[in-house]
């Protein structure tokens, strides 16, 4: 039975890193460049982890812009939509890993993610409205060789161990400076 997740490697890493907290310190990096209007391009390739510089196999390039109804050119998705990409990717990876670890074969996993957003906040139209999402809803449709309760447990456990779920549900200190 395999969903293609190397769970053994993850479990081994967990054991090793228990005794080596320094090696567990990762830094993820992105660098972006303004193009024109509200369009920017962000590239991601290198990161730091396991005590040294690391690199993805390839550089990834992400275009961020706004849709035409915001009077923009729509060269890419809006920045806040990237949060949905991150959340869906993280929870889905979690579902696959937990399923692998529990010996559950997945036939298909689909998620639809919706973020409710009152844009009066970012427009400054109402000071009582926040800038970010008001709420986010994820609905998984999972076909797997398991009971409904086991499938719910997969989804619950994947939230429990999700980096992006944590980053979105809990506050994080953010420092923005001018170099």
């Amino acid at each position: 039975m395999s969903n293609g997740v190397n769970v053994q490697a993850l479990l081994d890493a967990r054991e090793v890193l228990k005794g080596a907290p320094e090696a567990a310190q990762f830094t993820w990096r992105a660098s972006s460049k303004w193009q024109h209007g509200v369009h920017s391009t962000t590239k991601i390739e290198k990161f730091f982890g396991l005590g040294q510089e690391q690199s993805h196999k390839n550089e990834s390039v992400f275009e961020a812009d706004h849709p035409a109804i915001f009077a923009a050119e729509d060269n890419g998705i809006t920045p806040i939509e990237y949060l949905l990409v991150g959340l869906a990717g993280c929870l889905t990876a979690g579902v696959a890993s937990v399923a692998q670890n529990r010996g559950i074969k997945l036939n298909s996993v689909e998620a639809s993610v919706e973020g409710g957003h009152d844009i009066r906040g970012i427009l400054g139209a109402d000071p009582d409205v926040r800038n970010g999402f008001n709420d986010i809803k994820v609905v998984f449709t999972i076909d797997a060789d398991a009971s409904p309760a086991d499938i719910e447990a997969l989804v619950a456990q994947s939230q429990k161990r999700s980096a992006v779920f944590d980053a979105l549900t809990n506050p994080t200190n953010v420092t923005v400076e001018v170099a």
Partner: protein, 395 residues
């Protein structure tokens, strides 16, 4: 003074150790800084009753003998039980152990009543010596209370109360504070949901008889996790899960993440911790049914989570007058001058065997899932003292 074994602490763990030491004719003394049952006398709130039914309150040398085996003891009754169990125990009360260090013959204890030399030492000083309190920047106008300070709601300032933590202590205090007329906001992280009764029997009857509490520490998949498991949402006599609290008017919010600029910020993950607890409860009830070999009994309504729980609570607005930190307890080993405590403050031991004649009792899942409960001490003490006695013989 020299003894073969010095036992530190005269709670039920230290008393149980003494019974097995006496049975093996090992000369020993039980050192207690306060009185017998000191924690039950001085570190509990007024209304507290055991969440374990009376028939489960069995200690070596004493068991519940009153008219209500299905009742739940108040603190006076618990003290009485421990005192009966202490009848033939060589306890020296009012002896505070301030240091334990290695010596050529074993250990040297420094105490408020002078030094004591011992070949072996049993640490039975308790797992709950200090309330855990996260270090947040709480506005000065909000009073902060730990379960050790808390006695009853009338001593809290007027206004709303933020209770942080939804395990046994948190749900019990939230309920009685809400009943006192102070509106409670309850911050819930991961928790263990339990109904008081399952299929007409106390849920702890099932835990006990289905063998859950007897599961051995060295047979569990994830011992670290089992040892960190929060106490169950139980109170004497009735179900007190999050749904019961919601029905009473308690407002649920997520786990407290931080306090920033005078506002408490809660995790937006409340729904998931509730889902995890619901799923785990159902798995536990499945185990009971499997053990009983019968068709599934009743299942419970999923936890009702508010459609959009507040994630920000302004602590400067006057809405909240006090915070009750029901965020758990930890042991205190500041007096233990032997390098056997890890970087997180936990004693390093294998089923209560620390090594070199040093032993422990009364810690979470020490040897079994039920180790910290009164009813779990007898089997643990038998095993641990058995190991100690064996060590004395082979030395």
């Amino acid at each position: 003074m020299y003894v073969t074994t010095a036992v530190i602490g005269a709670g039920h763990a230290g008393l149980a150790a003494s019974h097995f030491l006496t049975a093996a004719s090992v000369d020993h003394v039980v050192l207690e800084r306060g009185e017998v049952a000191n924690s039950w006398r001085h570190e509990r709130w007024d209304s507290l009753r055991l969440l374990t039914p009376n028939w489960l309150s069995r200690l070596p040398g004493a068991a519940y003998e009153g008219p209500d085996p299905d009742g739940y003891a108040d603190m006076g009754e618990v003290v009485d039980l421990l005192e009966r169990s202490a009848k033939d125990v060589p306890v020296r009360t009012g002896v505070n152990v301030t240091s334990v260090r290695r010596s050529p013959e074993g250990y040297t204890l420094t105490t408020s009543e002078g030094p004591i030399r011992a070949r072996t030492v049993v640490i039975a000083s308790g797992a709950c010596n200090r309330p855990v309190m996260p270090a947040f920047d709480v506005p000065a106008r909000v009073e902060q209370v730990t379960p050790f300070d808390y006695r009853n709601p009338s001593r809290l300032p007027d206004g709303g109360v933020l209770v942080v933590g939804a395990s046994a202590t948190g749900v019990q205090l939230a309920a009685e504070i809400q009943r006192s007329g102070r509106p409670v906001v309850l911050s819930a992280g991961e928790h263990v949901r339990m109904p008081r009764v399952y299929r007409d029997r106390d849920v702890l009857w099932w835990m006990h008889h289905a063998g859950v509490w007897a599961q051995r520490y060295d047979e569990l998949d994830d011992l670290t996790r089992a040892r960190r498991l929060p106490s169950p949402q139980l109170v004497a006599g009735s179900t007190l899960d999050l749904n019961a609290l919601t029905s009473m008017g308690v407002e649920l919010v997520g786990r407290l993440s931080t306090i920033r600029d005078g506002a408490a910020l809660f995790s937006g993950g409340l729904r998931n911790v509730a889902a995890l607890a619901d799923l785990k409860l159902n798995r536990l009830l499945d185990t009971f049914d499997e053990w009983a070999g019968t068709a599934p009994g009743e299942r419970h309504e999923p936890t009702r989570v508010p459609a959009s729980a507040r994630w920000r609570l302004d602590l400067r607005s006057g809405e909240i007058g006090s915070i009750v930190w029901a965020t758990g307890f930890r042991p205190d080993y500041s007096w233990l001058d032997v390098p056997v405590v890890d970087e997180k403050g936990a004693l390093v031991h294998d089923g209560g065997v620390v090594g070199d004649g040093l032993y422990a009792l009364g810690l979470p899942v020490l040897r079994r899932r039920g180790s910290t409960f009164i009813c779990g001490i007898e089997d643990d003490a038998r095993d641990v003292i058995g190991h100690l006695v064996q060590g004395l013989k082979s030395a």
